[in-house]
């Protein structure tokens, strides 16, 4: 019996050794290409269904408006780097996990300032904003092509935790989509941003986790 098995494992090894060396796969460029393809899809959706807000020329001169982009970028960058790293089975998050705190600290500070400078009766209207439903649907919609491209490429990898890796892909795609959406959204208050952007991101995190569970097992 043992003999049978011994032969089989060595058969497998012989077959693996005889398999021709494949063309070299470089993960970094593959992920860069995936992000580019996903962004093209997101931009197409932006052009079709979203578009910049009419008063964007004035908006770019306000701190609140620009802070939205800074925050989205501060979230997108470490998430993308972390995601790419997780393609390796022996990956450790390392210092990147700490970087992820930056956008939250930034947003918390902005919320604190906002609460200090605007009157109390303005808090609720600013928090609710004009179109949170729009925010919660447009961000996931534009994130979808990015998420799909990231998950498809991650199938080349060997992530130790497929569900978590998918969730991170969801968050990364949401933060990239938020970068686009911020130019459309008429609500600039950090109170709105702190409430609804994370809400939209969580939807994408959930979708990413499900996709990871389904597609990233190996």
């Amino acid at each position: 019996m043992a003999e049978v098995d011994r032969v089989r494992t060595s058969e497998l090894i012989a077959a693996l050794a005889a398999d021709p060396v494949p063309e070299k796969i470089r993960l970094g460029p593959r992920f860069a290409a995936a992000a580019a393809i996903g962004l093209v899809g997101a931009l197409a959706l932006y052009a079709l269904f979203v578009g910049p807000r009419p008063d964007i020329a004035e908006a770019v001169r306000t701190v609140r408006f620009n802070l939205k982009f800074l925050d989205a970028a501060a979230l997108a960058l470490p998430l993308m780097l972390l995601f790419v790293r997780l393609a390796r089975p022996d990956a450790r998050p390392g210092a990147l996990a700490l970087w992820l705190l930056a956008p939250f600290l930034l947003l918390a500070a902005a919320v604190a300032v906002e609460l200090a400078v605007i009157p109390r009766d303005q808090w609720l209207p600013r928090l609710v904003g004009q179109n949170w439903m729009y925010c919660a649907t447009m961000i996931p919609m534009m994130a979808a092509p990015i998420l799909a491209a990231l998950i498809a490429t991650m199938r080349l990898g060997a992530p130790q935790h497929p569900t978590l890796t998918g969730a991170i892909a969801g968050a990364a795609s949401a933060s990239l989509a938020a970068l686009l959406y911020a130019s459309h959204c008429p609500d600039d208050s950090p109170l709105f941003v702190a409430a609804w952007y994370p809400f939209a991101t969580l939807i994408c995190v959930g979708a990413g986790a499900l996709a990871g569970r389904r597609f990233l097992r190996w």
Binding site: A2, D5, D90
Partner: protein, 189 residues
């Protein structure tokens, strides 16, 4: 993506063998996989024993680890040592195999370095299930995989025996190995 602490390629024996293998050295690859199989078998045996599970599926875990190493070898960073990467893959596959057998909680699995002295003992009662992985193949694919390995029969000899061109055998072999990976993913989906 190399860590700053590892400026050049890792130069331990396994890393060197893997680099040679990826440059096309079949012999080095075979020796490396044999070596890895021995170590992973020790790892799996210890993990199964600790969970008080029979050792009928140890060889499955070993084979799945070898296949994953093969299909995912581009995820190894040549600037890092091969050992930790092999450990990570083996742990992943051993845990999977144990969960499949109904283990709820899997204790942490020790690195293969812990099993330096583990003898590659003949295992009298193992292995009735060890064919599963190979049985995922079509008869033709299975024939090719087995033929190539019979006493190291070469691609050329296999091609002659099956009246196929060498290229066709290589392509069929490559497809068969990828099919193994895909079948494995389906089985856990």
């Amino acid at each position: 993506m190399s860590a700053p602490s590892a400026p050049g390629p890792a130069d331990d024996p396994w890393s060197k063998m893997m680099r040679a293998a990826m440059a096309g050295d079949e012999g080095a690859y075979r020796r490396l996989l044999m070596d890895i199989a021995r170590r992973v078998r020790g790892m799996a045996r210890a993990a199964f024993a600790r969970a008080r599970m029979g050792d009928a599926d140890i060889e499955d875990a070993v084979q799945e680890t070898l296949l994953a190493i093969h299909l995912k070898r581009h995820t190894w960073d040549p600037n890092q040592k091969l050992g930790p990467w092999v450990n990570a893959i083996a742990r992943h596959k051993i845990v999977d195999a144990m969960r499949r057998k109904g283990a709820r909680k899997v204790a942490p699995i020790e690195d293969f370095e812990e099993f330096l002295a583990a003898p590659e003992a003949e295992d009298p009662h193992a292995l009735s299930d060890a064919r599963k992985l190979m049985e995922q193949l079509t008869p033709r694919q299975r024939e090719i995989v087995q033929s190539i390995s019979l006493d190291g029969q070469s691609i050329a000899a296999t091609a002659a025996r099956l009246s196929m061109s060498e290229v066709a055998v290589r392509v069929a072999l490559h497809r068969a190995l990828k099919a193994l990976g895909a079948a494995w993913r389906r089985s856990i989906a």
